[in-house]
Symmetry: C2
Subunit: 337 residues, 2 copies
Amino acid sequence: MNIQEFARQIGVSTATVSRALHKRGRISPATRQMILERAKELGYTPNLHAQRLVTGRSHMIALDYLGQAQILSDMFLVALARGIQQALQAHGYGLLLNLMVDPQQHDTLQRQWVRSQAVDGLILVGGAEVDRAMLREVAAGDTPCVLISQQPVEGVAHVGSVAVGLAHGARQVARMLVEQGHRCIGFLGSEIPDPVLAAFRAELQTLGAGLSEARVTIAGRTPEEGAQAMRQMLARRRRPTAVFARTDALALGALRAAKQLSLRVPEDLSLVGHDDISAAEWTDPPLTTVRVDCLELGQAATRMLVQLLKQPEIRPDPCEVHTELVQRASVAAPGGR
Amino acid sequence: MNIQEFARQIGVSTATVSRALHKRGRISPATRQMILERAKELGYTPNLHAQRLVTGRSHMIALDYLGQAQILSDMFLVALARGIQQALQAHGYGLLLNLMVDPQQHDTLQRQWVRSQAVDGLILVGGAEVDRAMLREVAAGDTPCVLISQQPVEGVAHVGSVAVGLAHGARQVARMLVEQGHRCIGFLGSEIPDPVLAAFRAELQTLGAGLSEARVTIAGRTPEEGAQAMRQMLARRRRPTAVFARTDALALGALRAAKQLSLRVPEDLSLVGHDDISAAEWTDPPLTTVRVDCLELGQAATRMLVQLLKQPEIRPDPCEVHTELVQRASVAAPGGR
DNA sequence: GTGAAAGCGCTAACAA
DNA sequence: TTGTTAGCGCTTTCAC
């Protein structure tokens, strides 16, 4: 049933129906009430496409996950989406998903959706560092957009930025380790440069602990690489009493390596991971790690986007959702007790 | 730029432009070619809403995740979505996400989208068992829909069904355990009735091994419950040489409990989980478990939906994507070697 | 093979 | 407060 038919059946004009269905427009409460009731009764639902065509707004936003630029692994995407959807729901927006499937098609598709006005706004995950091309594309248009990335992105009018503040958690790890009494600390890195390493090192410095270059190993990504690097570290004359691994994947491997060498964790060696992948809770001992609240991340991004959608002229301040230390059982004071 | 403006600029009618952009309609190859080129050149993209309004098809489908009826945990949702999107892309459909956020709002929203014609079809995850209400709702309409659930759903014209065949993996576990020489096997369940337990028991029976009632413990969901149940099992006079846990979460707890009792896995006790959560790969030893290929699941569901979208009159055969045993290191022959 | 024109269902001026 | 009506941008008969 369309609006005409419906209006005819209940004996009012289409304009009145339209007014009853929206907040705005002058209409007597009684009429509105009546129309709402009868709409439910007769099962009338306005055609979205007609609405969108005439208003020029789709009330849809797209979540674009740039596979190339994964700053969040798949695992966290659902939490992110949930956060986004939660926040979106309050404003009557829907969520369109755009997981990268075929990198080729991806930006075509995305561009298509923007250009064809299928979505009013965009949330791009993984932006800044890697997909400069896409960022340029977005910046060139005027579609409200928020980027979720490691480095804040600034300077584009209609583009908001939510950065994952990696430094915070890294500093917490440094403080916690030093408080526990560790002075000989190692870092198992994944790549360089690394904001986590930078913040960790700086904080140790501040605390007077220091992180010698010799104790920083750039291992890679796989647990095997983590195990390998760990063995090297432990082969040193003066082995670290605590190791901070850049990712839980590395930490998992490191943990296994340590055990194989008959080291007890945390008594003989404290270990801290990063990311809080779900396996972290299930290692033996459960891994102390660092995580970011993806639900919050999604909500923050959404709040910013909605703001941008409502008032495109005001440029939102970049915001940051920072990582947090999650204490479990893989850290203890040094010295076998 | 809209079609009128574009048509005017390149000196043809809107009808010709429209024809050039679609497969159908008689048009000279030369003209089409020319129009396509100039469209790209001038950056003309048809307005989706107008297209949808006039054609009555949105080329969108919604993925509905019924939180209450989770048959897939969050972890697997991304793989599922990826599979769906991959298959969808080939047919030019987009994906709208509907994670359950507020159970209240959920079906409202979903219904809204169907009724307002925002989506042409639906993929419902978790349907059958739990959300009969929603199923009824869907069945009442005539929107093509496919359900991903444990039990196949049949009998509704425009509703397809993709079932997760749990029996297959369960049988594989039974066979593998018996082949390894186990005769005294325990089962750590989560709830009852359970298709996995049923298939496991039946297969053991067939193999002449049998599963005595006494060795079936319904533990619950958490690892703690798994550990607890495991301790009970191991306290028995004749302890099992192998245990099949209904979920990896339970198995994780069970594994920990076994270790605390100084049992070696797999030498003293073989353990098999179910689901292949990511932690399963990282336990010590890595957990042998059972998994379902969510990518495939998504693709199968999508193929069925697209088929339904194209030919609503033909009723698709229910299909099944079954679970598979993933061998890792938590199973060995019984008897300490 | 191409163009003219009638809607698709809705919203929002403008009139009443 | 309510009704009338002109589009929103596109597809698709129906003429040419």
